[in-house]
């Protein structure tokens, strides 16, 4: 396993953070709320200048920042887009994020970006390709990254490696860490029919650098019992339970509240983050019976 530098100047605190939304800027810059850190999607800041970058400059001066990519298409089985990678490096160099992460999903094919996180087949060949892609990113930006477990809606018959083994092996081989999205575990377990508790219990704690929590919804089609990763609601109770279970075993980690659709006012988001902080406090005290 390779040794890669963690960001030397800052690190994400093992507390709740939230995704930064421009509509909350007034609350954040006006009230300087006691939130541990903020996450941004670097893709939204891949511009030459102007107010968007100025706002990120202000935010990163006051809080640790995590850059969570959605456009590298690590699992796409083709060479990474060099200009996208260069844009990411420019942002990393300028804003000095405490964490950089991406998905194992794919989102581009032959030059056409598809604005969604699509399912990567899990085979020995695709694993080798994913490891190459992670190595390319880490070498290029000079930082260790985290990779996130996917949300699954459909089983892929070509898969030959179980998901947790696939992402853990990718992390072991590339030296990257894992970002465990507990909501994704819950949704995928429900949609594909595996045991979420067993998955959570097998997560290799020493590889985990961050946790994601989000709300999900049932599909509008009543004939299909499928959950959709909408990031549009509070975190569901069974997801909190899985989170408590994981934290009690591996110890507290930086934990993001993701809320990207039907985004509520700042106060609602701040309360959800405070709730995550309470869960983290209980987890280390080894008492994870939390009234949420």
């Amino acid at each position: 396993m390779k040794t890669l530098t963690q960001n030397s100047k800052r690190s994400l605190p093992s507390r709740a953070g939230v995704g930064f939304k421009a509509e909350h800027a007034q609350d954040i810059f006006g009230k300087a709320p006691a939130v541990g850190w903020f996450e941004v999607h670097p893709e939204n800041y891949m511009v030459a200048g102007g107010p968007r970058l100025a706002m990120l400059e202000d935010l990163s001066a006051q809080y640790p920042i995590s850059m969570h990519g959605v456009g590298l298409s690590l699992g796409g089985g083709e060479p990474l887009n060099k200009s996208h990678l260069a844009d990411l490096k420019r942002l990393v160099d300028r804003f000095n994020p405490a964490m950089v992460s991406e998905h194992i999903a794919w989102s581009a094919h032959e030059g056409l970006y598809m604005a969604d996180l699509l399912p990567t087949p899990m085979t020995h060949t695709s694993l080798a390709q994913l490891v190459d892609a992670i190595n390319t990113v880490q070498d290029y930006i000079g930082l260790r990254i985290l990779i996130e477990n996917p949300t699954s809606y459909v089983p892929l018959p070509q898969n030959s490696i179980p998901e947790l083994e696939f992402i853990s092996e990718a992390a072991e081989r590339s030296g990257c860490g894992l970002l465990i999205d507990v909501n994704n575990v819950y949704i995928s377990a429900h949609n594909l029919g595996f045991d979420a508790n067993a998955f959570i219990d097998a997560v290799p704690g020493d590889l985990v650098g961050e946790i994601h929590l989000a709300g999900h919804e049932e599909d509008f089609n009543p004939e299909d019992n499928v959950l959709i990763d909408t990031h549009s609601r509070p975190v569901a109770d069974p997801v909190w339970d899985l989170f408590d279970r994981l934290m009690a075993r591996i110890g507290r980690k930086p934990t993001l509240i993701e809320w990207d659709n039907d985004v509520p006012g700042w106060d609602v988001l701040a309360r959800e983050a405070a709730l995550a902080d309470r869960h983290l406090d209980y987890a280390v005290a080894d008492k994870f019976e939390v009234a949420s």
């Binding site: 800041y45 298409s73 089985g77 989102s107 094919h109 598809m114 969604d116 699509l118 018959p157």
Partner: protein, 264 residues
């Protein structure tokens, strides 16, 4: 072709297919109907990104028709960047070649104006030329050539695009009902002083003056002469001051003795 390549090709083709029920053969039996979730995410994501870039076009045509326009635009694309921050270049051209132009002839120019606003909002940061920067250079003004600020664009239309945009985007708390729109050509200056996108309607003389200074590469004196020829009422001093106030020019000047802002 490898099995993996076939997987990515098949998935991509089904996502881009015009039939809404398309599904790739790589999905497990009995789950083809769930492919719709991916398809919906991809299309909704792109339509929303386009709507965010062209909010006034969206308002003018309404949700349902905008989705149809977006669907056509998305299907016409052969490349698409991994960042959607500047998504939608080429939408004005797409609209110009679309039948919607017959009922809303000004729509492509509204799209050009919105694209200019987005580009101006995200252009490189640079110090704008201020009146103070010209202090002591009065004797050189006439021969001076100016450089347009990176966050400055001019949109000329044979339709009243500035008026239409303003009616669709009323200032919060502003008094009065909808202004009537006069059918006329309009030229709009789009700039970003103090990190806020601003638009100004240019008079005929101002439009000629600005074009002569920038595209024409004329000196201030030469541009004045052209503007006065086009518009005998053109007010040189007021117009130049307005351009300076709104951050239209770059502070980097090419004057014989420089002004200290070169090579920033």
């Amino acid at each position: 072709m490898t099995a993996l390549k076939a997987f990515y090709d098949g998935f991509t083709d089904a996502l881009n297919a015009s039939e809404p029920d398309a599904a790739p053969s790589s999905v497990a039996e009995g789950y083809a109907h769930r492919f719709r979730i991916y398809r919906n995410n991809v299309h909704r994501g792109l339509y929303d990104a386009l709507g965010a870039a062209y909010p006034t076009v969206h308002k003018l045509v309404g949700d349902g028709f905008f989705d149809r326009l977006a669907q056509g635009f998305v299907q016409s694309e052969t490349t698409r960047a991994g960042s959607l921050a500047l998504y939608g270049a080429g939408f004005a051209e797409f609209l110009a070649n679309h039948p919607v132009r017959e009922s809303l002839p000004y729509l492509p120019d509204i799209a050009r104006l919105e694209r200019a606003r987005l580009e101006v909002s995200t252009s490189a940061d640079a110090k704008p030329l201020m009146a103070d920067d010209l202090a002591g250079l009065e004797d050189q003004l006439e021969a001076m050539k100016l450089q347009v600020h990176p966050a400055c664009q001019v949109i000329s239309s044979s339709y009243p695009v500035f008026s239409i945009w303003n009616v669709q985007n009323p200032v919060e708390g502003a008094q009065g009902g909808k202004a009537s729109i006069v059918q006329r050509a309009e030229t709009v200056l789009v700039t970003r002083p103090y990190m806020q996108v601003e638009m100004r309607l240019l008079s005929a003389g101002q439009a000629v003056f600005f074009a002569a200074l920038t595209r024409g590469g004329l000196s201030l004196g030469g541009a004045c002469a052209e503007a006065l020829q086009a518009d005998p009422d053109f007010d040189v001093i007021a117009s130049f001051a307005e351009f300076l106030t709104t951050g239209a020019f770059d502070a980097r000047l090419n004057t014989p003795r420089g002004n200290g802002h070169d090579d920033e």
